[in-house]
């Protein structure tokens, strides 16, 4: 050991540290000078899962949809009662054969300002912009995750045509009643060709639309800032321009518990949904707002177009005994859904005592579509009838799920013990399970289905025999069901279409390829100073009418 050697070693550490510092500094070069602070008040919420793109063509999940909905508009929009209202189109007509849709475009809608526009001012939206936006959505080169909306539905020749600056026409191959609902989806937002062409793939981070808020800054994984669009075309009932707020600021803390703490401290204006990490601190056991929060916060809730279920694969990889529908019915009757809602979910959601379509759709009717209720005697009877009295001879059924549903699945497993059906749980990472279910490799799995548009078809298509694995994850194929499906799509009269939908639900429940668990609820916690934030069954976030007291 000599003294000089110590200095050498220190020099080595210093050398490595300098090398690392150089690397670190190289990465910091993009910091930009912030603008001046003002007392402007922005609406703040957290998006734990992160936003992958602000391009409407990739508005595939709730995180992206919420941001896109503030930045863009479609031809039509949906209000909180799920009515289709005009947006960029001021009116429309549908031909009697249901094949041609003609939209009249408003002449006072402008894109957000951008340097690429003449004089930097956003140009007026014309029917040609609509034509471009829809053509882009279906173009395989865009590789949009939303092209399924139009594939197989639009006419082969000239499906989207701008007849002049203010008339846009869309042609379908076959009549498809829910089309207007589809057009209200964020995928169908109107984008400016000039800007999209300039940025290409980078349009994802340079969005220019027509929405109530304009893009200001996106520091990925940190913050997304949107500012008020002063030229927004919509006005409130009193004639005042929307939006009211100065801007929106979205943070991306992945830790939901931390987001809850920030909300509690008043550093976030809204908290969406519940998470196991803070559930019991925001809700009482009965599902009301926790007394600790009720002084400063409020709770908005609405039924959610989300059905949670367990699905059997009907493809044949299910153990033989479970291919008997009486066994599947018995399992359905052996599960106490009310207990699950009360004890595992703090009374959030409704037990699924009807079919696959959740309440909120006009065709939902618990009397006309009676689902499975907890009835042990009936369950035991069905098992006996199928030749497995008290579950004797039944092989173990493997239920595949993700860790976030482990509690519900464990409860299910315990309940099934009462009729002697042996269940084994297998926990997978979400991405792995999703792939497995899509490939039909999972014989019994947990799933959920969120409605895409306000027509029960968005649920019933999940079991249409003509559909591949997404959306038909159970690979259910039933002639009676498929016939009703085809008939319903061609039926224009609402009442008779709903009857067909109910007929399909009854067929589905009789075959029992699924175990409906519960119909979910949308929960939004906000500060008491937040006014005008609605809540709707699609869990769509619209901030244009929100203001602070």
């Amino acid at each position: 050991m000599n003294y000089k050697f110590s200095i050498r070693s220190l020099a080595i550490i210093a050398g490595v540290c300098c090398f690392l510092c150089l690397l670190a500094c190289g990465g910091e070069g993009t910091k930009e000078q912030g603008g001046s602070k003002t007392d402007k008040r922005y609406f703040r919420y957290n998006q734990a899962s992160g936003i992958s793109s602000l391009d409407p063509a990739f508005a595939k999940d709730q995180a992206n949809i919420w941001a896109v909905n503030q930045l863009f508009n479609g031809l039509v929009q949906m209000d909180d009662e799920l009515n289709i209202l005009p947006a960029i189109a001021k009116s429309w007509t549908i031909n009697s054969d249901g094949l041609t849709y003609t939209f009249v475009i408003r002449d006072d809608v402008h894109f957000h300002d951008h340097e690429l526009f003449p004089d930097g001012k956003g140009t007026k939206v014309t029917a040609h912009d609509v034509e471009y936006s829809f053509k882009r959505l279906v173009d395989p080169l865009t590789a949009s995750s939303g092209s399924w909306l139009f594939n197989d539905r639009i006419a082969d020749k000239d499906p989207f045509v701008a007849l002049n600056d203010s008339i846009f026409q869309m042609k379908l191959k076959e009549a498809f009643r829910p089309m207007l609902g589809i057009l209200s989806m964020q995928y169908c937002s109107i984008v400016p060709e000039r800007i999209v062409k300039n940025y290409g793939k980078e349009f994802r981070a340079n969005p220019i639309g027509t929405g109530p808020f304009a893009f200001k800054k996106w520091d990925e994984g940190k913050v997304l800032v949107l500012t008020k669009n002063d030229n927004y075309f919509e006005k409130d009932a009193a004639g005042q321009s929307l939006p009211y707020m100065d801007g929106v600021s979205i943070s991306f803390m992945e830790n939901k518990r931390n987001a809850f703490l920030k909300f509690k401290d008043g550093e976030l204006d809204m908290l969406s949904g519940i998470d196991a990490s803070y559930k019991d601190e925001v809700l009482t056991g009965e599902g009301a707002l926790h007394p600790d929060l009720s002084a400063a916060k409020q709770l908005l809730r609405s039924p959610y177009m989300n059905t949670e279920y367990l699905g059997f694969s009907m493809r044949g990889n299910l153990p033989k005994a479970y291919q008997d529908k009486r066994v599947r019915q018995a399992i359905n009757h052996a599960f106490d859904r009310e207990k699950m809602i009360r004890y595992l979910r703090n009374n959030i959601g409704k037990p699924a005592h009807s079919g696959f379509t959740p309440p909120g759709f006009p065709s939902f009717n618990e009397q006309l579509v009676p689902g499975f209720k907890f009835n042990l005697d009936k369950a035991k009877g069905l098992l006996k009838e199928a030749g497995y009295p008290d579950g004797k001879g039944l092989p173990t059924l493997k239920l595949e799920t993700t860790s976030s549903y482990q509690d519900v699945c464990t409860f299910f497993q315990n309940q099934l013990k009462d009729i002697g059906v042996p269940i084994e749980l297998e926990i997978h990472p979400p991405s792995f399970l999703r792939n497995k279910i899509a490939k039909g490799e999972s014989a019994f799995f947990r799933g959920s289905w969120i409605g895409d548009y306000p027509d029960a078809e968005t649920y019933l298509t999940v079991f249409y025999g003509g559909n591949p694995a997404p959306p038909n994850y159970t690979q259910f194929k039933n002639k009676r069901y498929d016939d009703f499906y085809a008939k319903a799509l061609a039926t224009n009269k609402d009442e008779s279409r709903y009857q067909l939908y109910q007929e399909m639900e009854r067929t589905l429940l009789a075959e029992a390829p699924i175990i409906p668990l519960f119909y979910d609820e949308v929960l939004r916690f906000t500060g008491k100073d937040v006014e005008g934030l609605g809540v709707n069954a699609f869990n769509l976030l619209s901030l244009k009418k929100v203001k602070f007291k």
Binding site: S9, I12, I13, D61, S147, W148, R204, E220, P470
Partner: protein
């Protein structure tokens, strides 16, 4: 010397190519990444368009070759304006409609967000490096102080407490101590400490202006530094005790030198040699440990990006960050080897 460096670099290069090929092949078995870029509903035509867009329609071998071509600074591309703007290359030699080009390595774009992987890495890197450095500095300073303190009071209560504490520190995985620290100081004692449960170093206020929250570095630094700290404490203590028993220390004491001077000037300097040598060997390991800590504290560095990418089967990001980490390890090793040789003539290059 030069030959030695070249040999080291060539060796490192082989390691990197092997890492690329191995990780590329391993990752393929995890599932279908195209499916995960979709929402809940999709159709076959949409999936095909996405596969083509992501290049997943090509056979595995071709994809691996493309990847290697993309990563290599000298590569061959079809010379089109689209390629030029995507790969940002400068042409060296035209070969018909193709061209031999020079570029910075191209790591592709994220499947999920379509963002350039190099950009993702560049944004994530500073956090990881700052976290790693602050952890090693924390561990070194406190480790040596505690170690010396314990050695000076051998067999006292202080000594035993420090020893027990360091054993506790060594025996805990860093992500575990991370969670405990977050819970105690970021949640239960939040009102007193003012620390966040989780949080990033570089953050922004609600208007999007950047702010640096150094306080968010405190808990991750402690969590990551606690194991090296414990090891440094024990190492310092034992070498210190050994040094203090040497003859020359007794001589110094006999000459009437004060106890403080003996410890700090004569004993500590010599005792530190093995400690410092050990620390330089751990730098790379600290960076690896940072991966877990980043997940616990929502600290958006390299580890956070890597693990998220693996969860989403976002292969380009996962490949890019693994490759980058490998480059980092290999270059730190080369640097340490070369510096050792340069500083210590006893190290031979052959």
């Amino acid at each position: 010397m030069l030959r030695y460096v070249i040999k080291k670099i060539a060796y490192g290069f082989t390691v990197l190519v092997a890492v690329v090929a191995l990780v590329f092949l391993l990752i393929q078995g995890l599932g279908d990444p195209a499916r995960l870029t979709q929402g809940q509903r999709t159709d076959i035509a949409t999936m095909e368009a996405v596969r083509k867009d992501l290049g997943l329609d090509l056979p595995l071998g071709v994809r691996l070759l493309h990847y290697l071509n993309d990563v290599s600074p000298i590569s061959i591309y079809q010379d089109t304006p689209e390629n030029k703007s995507e790969y940002r290359y400068s042409k060296i030699l035209p070969l018909g409609d193709r061209a031999l080009v020079f570029k910075t390595p191209y790591l592709g774009r994220s499947y999920q967000s379509k963002k350039r992987v190099t950009e993702i890495l560049r944004e994530a890197l500073p956090q990881t490096i700052i976290l790693g450095l602050s952890a090693i500095i924390f561990a070194t300073i406190f480790g040596i102080l505690l170690g010396v303190w314990a050695a000076m009071r051998q067999f006292s209560f202080t000594d035993s407490s420090i020893l027990v504490g360091s054993i506790l520190g060594i025996s805990q995985p860093s992500y575990f101590s991370g969670m405990i620290l977050a819970l105690v100081f970021g949640y239960w004692l939040r009102d007193y400490t003012g620390l966040n449960y989780t949080g990033d170093l570089f953050s922004t206020d609600m208007y999007g202006d950047p702010i640096t929250q150094w306080k968010n570095l405190i808990l991750p630094t402690i969590a990551l530094g606690i194991r090296p700290l414990a090891i440094i404490v024990q190492l310092t203590r034992s070498t210190m005790l050994e040094t203090l028993s040497q003859d020359y220390i007794r001589t110094a004491k006999a000459k009437g030198v004060s106890n403080r001077i003996v410890v700090l000037k004569h004993a500590l300097r010599n005792a530190l040699n093995p400690v410092v040598t050990a620390i330089s060997g751990w730098l790379a390991a600290i960076l690896a440990g940072a991966y877990f800590i980043e997940i616990v504290f929502d600290f958006k560095g390299l580890g956070y990006e890597t693990i998220n990418a693996l969860n989403n089967l976002d292969l380009p990001v996962a490949m890019g960050s693994i490759l980058f980490a490998a480059v980092l390890f290999v270059s730190i090793n080369i640097l340490v080897d070369v510096l050792y040789g340069w500083l210590d003539p006893r190290v031979s290059y052959d």
